[in-house]
Structures are given as structure tokens and as C-alpha cells.
Amino acid sequence: MTDDSAVPLVGRDLAIGYRQRLIIDGLDVTIRRGGVTTIIGPNGCGKSTLLRGLGRLLPTTRGSVVLNGTDIATMRSRDIARQLGILPQSPVAPEGLTVAELVSRGRHPHQSWVQQWSGEDEREIVSALALTGMRGLEDRPLDELSGGQRQRAWIAMTLAQETPILLLDEPTTFLDLAHAVDVLELVDRLNRELDRTVVMVLHDLNLAARYSDQIIVMHDGAIVTAGAPEDVITAELLLQVFGLSAKVIIDDDGGLLVAPTARRTHRQQPRARGSHI
């Protein structure tokens, strides 16, 4: 037990699934404090399921999730929401909601009927807006924002929740590479400057390698391996887990690059550009 309280988030012998079909069965996982942990794996391997299970959005059929030394099954949902924030994949908001209203909702776990809007609420919301670069967009309706802005607004809501642990389910879905990098730079700042522990699910292996301290690789509902990106992401692992033949290259900055081996190395007949249209 003393061992667990030093670790912010632990899953023990987890079984999670829908109805009769278990997606994860008997999984153990430990999240390190103060790091960025990324779960990767092929589609349908159970990485989102694991994240949602850790964030109590999915009930566990067996096993327990321990948050700062306490089993979350024994905690009130509101108390969990003060320690752990989770941003689901493509979350929905009522039509016409403004950025300010969205981010304000993040303060819910800290508010009550007699304490609806404290000075601290206001400070946290302003700082969350500032950190995510959303200052000046407060009164804009969410549905009028670009994909990248909208994602930053949702992250701002999760930040306003003021939790030491953040779980992000594919925070870069539907974003182009530049905006995806923007969001991950933000995640990096949250981790470095605000000392938040981050766990996220990512699809892009290069981005995962670049922005994580620890990588967890999942396959068929189980953890294959976990560790530092350069130790974990190898050509053999990519072939074994993803069925992907690729080279893993270390670039000049010491960053890791996954380059898929293209089936067609040469185009036989380059297509003429813009002719006959």
C-alpha cells in the first residue's frame, strides 16, 4: 500500500469491456508521477479502453484502479474529478456554447450551490485560457472555431479542473501535423511548467516518441512492453505489434523516426500535372 501511494495512478488486474466481451483482461499498469506516458498500439488493441477505464468513464469488471493510494471504487466521483481530469475522444458540447462557458464548466468539481464563482475559479479559468492561447476567444461559440482551437478550448476546460493528473484520449485526432504539434507542445508545457502527470493515447508513432517519457505498447488488450521511447520502439516491435515493416532512424537531434518501408519505391510513370482539366 505504501508503495502505491507514491505512484499517482495504478491499475491492478484490470478487466474492462462491454457486456460479455472483455477487451482487457488481467492487465497491470503503473503510471509514473510527473511524466508524460503515451499508450500506443494498433486499432482495436484496447488503448482507449484502458485510458477510459483508468479515468472511470468505463466500469471495471474486475480489478481496481488506485488513485494516489485510494481505490477509486470507494471514492466519490466529484473527489476523483479534483485529482484526475480526463478528456474523452471527440467530446460533444451543446450547440452555441461559448469558449468561456466551456472552460468555466471545468470548475464544477470545486464549486457548490453556495460557492458558485470564487476568485480562485476566475483565476484558474483565466490562466487556463492564457496557457492554451485562447485569451480573446472567450465569447466565441465553440462551433465557430477551427479544429485546433476547439481542441485547445477543451484542453483548457480540463486544465481549469486543476487536477495533478491529466488523461487525454487522442488529443490530436482530426488535426493536421502542425496543429497536432501545437497541442503536444502544450502538453509538454503542462508537464514541465505545471508538473502535471499526463497519460495520453496517440496514433502517430513519431509524435508519441517525441513527446513522451514513457511509452506503453498494447496489443490484443494486453501490454506488450513499456519503457523509454528509444528502448521500446524498434523495427522488430513494429513488425510484431503493428504488422508494419519500417525502419527506425535516430535523427541528428537524437529524436526517433519511424519510416515505413514503401512497397513502391519508384513511380513507374509520374502523372503529368494539371493537364487536360
Binding site: 474523452p88 467530446p91 458540447a93 451543446p94 464544477h108 468539481p109 464563482w117 465569447d139
Partner: protein, 361 residues
């Protein structure tokens, strides 16, 4: 102080508190949207004015100041009788029923995150109708014990129970609930029609008037228990408004922010069913109020989610106003439901058209 010229494209934001008023006292703090509070005050005044006009309106004409005088205890015996015993039950019923239906609609629409989900569409009103029509057409000993309002209340609650049971699936998702409601609604409407066809003509006529929704049957004896019920359920609904606004985000975000989604959803739907059942029990299914009031409230208050108190007040204004217009201008005594449907029907169509336009744009 010199203020910089406002930028028209991006008006300067007054910080996160813009459009809100915050009052702090030590650890306590309250916050409200200034526009909604102003609108609530305006709407409450309109409701009071309409109620006064409704009390003055009738075959024995009374001026507004006589109404005020009588209510403050200065009227003659005949004025007191006319206002307090004859007209007031009708006026108060209009307000109570309108408030209950408007609030009920706001709750279902928010919890299911669907603007068409209102008690009329989910079959609650149809259940009440079947109960009431059965008692009106067949009468018998049950009718004597329950009365029409009792049968309507029972029908609404039993129907709601059946719909919940049929659509229950790990926390009941809203599309399932709506589809089940529509199916049950169709079945109940068919049963009601069958009862009407097989009933004696005079009974069938009486039942038909009930089915449109009318304030003609209002009397203190049935109104008082309903009034108390509506006050209690409304208070509970208003107290849950902090949770309600999170349920509008759907299950995941609400859970993430610390709401126990399953119980919260069930409780709010239960409150909604209770309010609709009480309203329908005394006035019949007054059409489209539960659907239209929250949608109008949402547009007037310019909020993303129907404001709870405001939707109720708008419902009250809609029913009282419709009843007043019919009594003042219609040569025959039309039931109030005709007027509310005449307002609500076009509103529904315009909403669908606008949603289509937005999608194709």
C-alpha cells in the same frame, strides 16, 4: 479615462465574467447571467399582467382595478364570487400547467440532448390521455374513485414506467428512449382512438375536448394538490440545475467533471415525467407547450441549454396568453390546446427547416 475605440470585428472581452453578475461574500459566491435574470423578471411581470387580464375577462366584465381591489379584499360579494370562485381556478391552472409543462420539456430536452424529446412525443401525454378517455367513455366505479385527473395521472406514470423499462440499457441512452417513446405513443394513440370510436357520442365528444387540452374543468379541489406537487418538483428541478447543465454535454464529459451520470439522468427524467403528468392530469395534453417553451426560451435568452426557470415561466405565459386570446376573440369556447398547437406546430417546422438549411449551407 480615455477608452480605446472598440474593434467591431472582435469586441474587447470583459474577461470570463462577461454577461454575468457575480456576488461574493466571504467564502460564499453567487453568479447569474444578467440577460436571463432580466428576462425572467420581464416574463414574470408579463405572466402577472396576463393573469390579471384573464381574471377581468368574462361574461360579467370587470375592470383591472376592480380585480386588484377584489384580490386585496375590498370587492363586493358578487365580485369576490366571480373572481375567486369562478375565474381564479382557471387562471391559476393555466399558470401551473404551463409552468409544469415548460419546465418538464426543458428537463427532457437537456437530459436527452435532443430538442424534440418532450413529454408529448415520449408518450407521457398519450398515457394520460388513454387513462382519462377510458374513464370518460366507460365511467363505472373506478371513475368515481379516481376521477378523470386521477386516471390521467395514473396513465402518465404507468406509461413512463413502461417506457423506462423498455428503453433501459446500462444507463439508458437517449435515442433508445426517444424511439421507444414514439412507438409506445403510437400504440396509446391507437388505443385511445379505438375507445373513442366505440364510445357513445356524447361521451366521445366530452373525451375529444379533454384530448385537446382545456382549462374549462379547473376547480380548486383538483388544482390544490397539483399545485403543491408542481411546486415541490420544480424546486427539486431548480436545485439540480448545476448538474443539468453538465448532462447537456453527454455522459463522458459529465462523468469526467464528477457527475454520477446514471442516477442524475434518471432523477431528472423522473422529475420531468412527474411535472408533465401533473400538468396533463388537470388540463389534458395542452399541445406543444413542453416542446415549444424551452426552445423559445433558449432563443430569447441566447443560451446553449434551455434555462430551467425561464422555460417554465414561458410555458405559463404561453398557456395563459393563449387562453386569454381565445376567450377574448373567439366566438365559440375553444380549448386552449388549439391555440398552443397553432403556435408550437409552425415553430417545430421552422426549427427543422433552419436545421436543414444549416446542414446544407
Amino acid at each position: 479615462m480615455v477608452r480605446p475605440a472598440p474593434d467591431r470585428r472582435h469586441p474587447p472581452s470583459k474577461g470570463v465574467g462577461s454577461g454575468f453578475t457575480t456576488v461574493r461574500l466571504g467564502r460564499f459566491s453567487l453568479r447569474w447571467r444578467s440577460r436571463t435574470v432580466l428576462l425572467v423578471a420581464i416574463l414574470a411581470s408579463v405572466a402577472v399582467l396576463l393573469a390579471a387580464a384573464s381574471l377581468a375577462q368574462g361574461t360579467y366584465p370587470l375592470s383591472l382595478d376592480r380585480v386588484v381591489a377584489t384580490l386585496s379584499g375590498e370587492g363586493t360579494r358578487i365580485e369576490r364570487y366571480t373572481i375567486v370562485d369562478l375565474r381564479m381556478p382557471r387562471t391559476v391552472t393555466g399558470i401551473v400547467v404551463g409552468f409544469a409543462l415548460g419546465l418538464s420539456g426543458a428537463l427532457t430536452q437537456t437530459v436527452t440532448r435532443n430538442p424534440i424529446a418532450s413529454p408529448d412525443i415520449l408518450g407521457v401525454s398519450a398515457g394520460a390521455s388513454l387513462g382519462a378517455v377510458a374513464v370518460i367513455t366507460f365511467g363505472g366505479p373506478t371513475a368515481a374513485v379516481l376521477g378523470v385527473p386521477g386516471a390521467a395521472l395514473g396513465g402518465a406514470l404507468v406509461t413512463a414506467g413502461v417506457i423506462f423499462l423498455l428503453s433501459w440499457k446500462s444507463g439508458s441512452d437517449s435515442l433508445r428512449l426517444i424511439l421507444t417513446g414514439i412507438a409506445v405513443n403510437a400504440l396509446l394513440v391507437a388505443l385511445t382512438s379505438w375507445l373513442l370510436v366505440s364510445a357513445r357520442l356524447s361521451r366521445a365528444t366530452e373525451a375529444t375536448v379533454w384530448l385537446i387540452g382545456s382549462l374549462d374543468r379547473a376547480e380548486w379541489a383538483t388544482l390544490l394538490p397539483v399545485f403543491v406537487g408542481v411546486v415541490v418538483l420544480s424546486a427539486l428541478a431548480l436545485a439540480s440545475s448545476r448538474v443539468l447543465r453538465l448532462l447537456a454535454f453527454g455522459g463522458d464529459t459529465a462523468s469526467a467533471l464528477g457527475v454520477r451520470v446514471g442516477p442524475a439522468r434518471s432523477l431528472l427524467l423522473l422529475l420531468s415525467v412527474g411535472l408533465a403528468a401533473l400538468g396533463v392530469a388537470i388540463a389534458g395534453p395542452v399541445g406543444f407547450v413542453a416542446f415549444a417553451a424551452p426552445q423559445l426560451a433558449l432563443r430569447l435568452a441566447r443560451t446553449a441549454v434551455p434555462p430551467v426557470l425561464y422555460s417554465g415561466l414561458l410555458g405559463a405565459v404561453l398557456v395563459t396568453g393563449s387562453d386569454l386570446v381565445i376567450r377574448a376573440f373567439s366566438p365559440v369556447a375553444l380549448p386552449v390546446g388549439i391555440m398552443t398547437t397553432a403556435i408550437g406546430g409552425p415553430l417545430l417546422i421552422s426549427l427543422i427547416v433552419r436545421a436543414n438549411l444549416r446542414r446544407t449551407a
